[in-house]
Symmetry: C7
Subunit: 90 residues, 7 copies
């Protein structure tokens, strides 16, 4: 069983707080409570107004209040709209 | 007699709180008051701006403050817009 | 003399509070103050953005704060936009 | 001299509070402070987005907080947008 | 030197408070602090979305909180958008 | 080096407060804290929705809370959108 | 590894506060807490509604509350939408 996001949403697996140095990104002091980096694990099909750019596997940055938390098979994920994703790490 | 949602709305039968493990999804601590998973039991015909993706029978995830509660033949349902549905479980 | 709603509005005759069981729908506890079910007794001609789906005679469900109350020939009605109607009972 | 409303506005002469029974409409208890019925005495030419449906002479219903009051040759009028008019009495 | 309003704005010379009877319009009690009538003395060229209907010389009515006050050669004016003008007196 | 405003923004050099009589415009009492007149010293290229009407050299009027202040080579400027400019002096 | 902004966002390396005189721009007194100038180090591909004008290497001015801070390989950056960038220095 898998989660298929609707419309222009993506499901993100946040990077663990310990692993703050993937890609050399460090979360600034004012944002330390939550990870700001994660991996896209599922993506919607987009909408008439929003084509999907993000793909499964993308390492992404997002704002710390973005998304809705959900837990699936013991792992915590974030569901958010593509427009709340700030950047892809390449 | 049956309920036919208007426009881009869907009628959802929430999963009982006891049955928190359908699909392995567990509601995170901050959201335990209400089920976040349910089944689409009726769907509108969409609008000019919103085509219907959801079909009757879809298992869906939704935010805990989404929708309007209503009771029909002893069962409690939620009526919400398709855009308030976060994902489909496949 | 009759009331012709403008644009995408409908005039609804709410079901009496006593008759809470038409179609088996019961209003949940938190919404008991007002009927949530009624019958369309007049409908506008729609607008460029909103085509009319509702017809006179439709049994409808609506949110409890929807519409403007008005009294006509001793009967109390609600005037609301079609988009505030949640569903049709069929 | 006459008042020509601009755009999608109409000028309405409210029915006197005493004459609450034109068309059999009675204002519900919560709305008794102001008349809710009146006659269109002048109408704008509409806009690109809003075609005029109302004509001079139409008996209309409107919400009690709609419009801007103005006094002309000793008579009190209401100027409002057509979209604030709820219905026409026919 | 003259003031050329930009876009869909008009420059209005308010009727003096003493001269409350031009066109027979009297400002209702709740609006006595400021004149509601004035003359268009300059008009913009409109925008893609708003064609200009008002012309220099038009006697207009406007809401009492509309526009920005400015003083030019000893005279006080109001600059406002055409959509804030309620009606033309003809 | 020069400042090139982006999109539909203009860079304005406010008229000094002492020189309140350029064009005979006097700032009304309630607006005396800041100059309301200035000269366009740089303009953006417009956007799909907003064509540029203002040109470098235009004397303009603007609301007293409009724009973002910035200092460049010892001179104070205001950066604002063209739509915040009220009028051109001709 | 590099940061690729999504949509119409740009990644900006703020000019150090000490180096307040690049281009002769001085931040006004009310805005001294944060630099207002920086260099575009990465840019998105734009959207249907917003074509990208900014290029990597552009020296830009931006409002002091614009953007989201992030730290990458020991350097602090700002991620913001192109529409929050006020001007390019040329």
């Amino acid at each position: 069983m898998k989660i298929q996001p609707l419309a222009d949403r993506v499901l993100i697996l946040p990077a663990p707080a310990e692993e703050k140095t993937i890609g050399g990104i460090i979360i600034p002091d004012t944002a330390k409570e939550k990870p700001l980096q994660g991996q896209v694990v599922a993506a919607g099909n987009g909408t008439k107004d929003e084509e999907m750019i993000l793909k499964v596997g993308d390492q992404v940055l997002y704002g710390k209040y973005s998304g809705t938390e959900l837990e699936f098979e013991g792992e915590k994920y974030l569901m958010m709209r593509q427009s709340d994703v700030l950047a892809v790490l390449k």
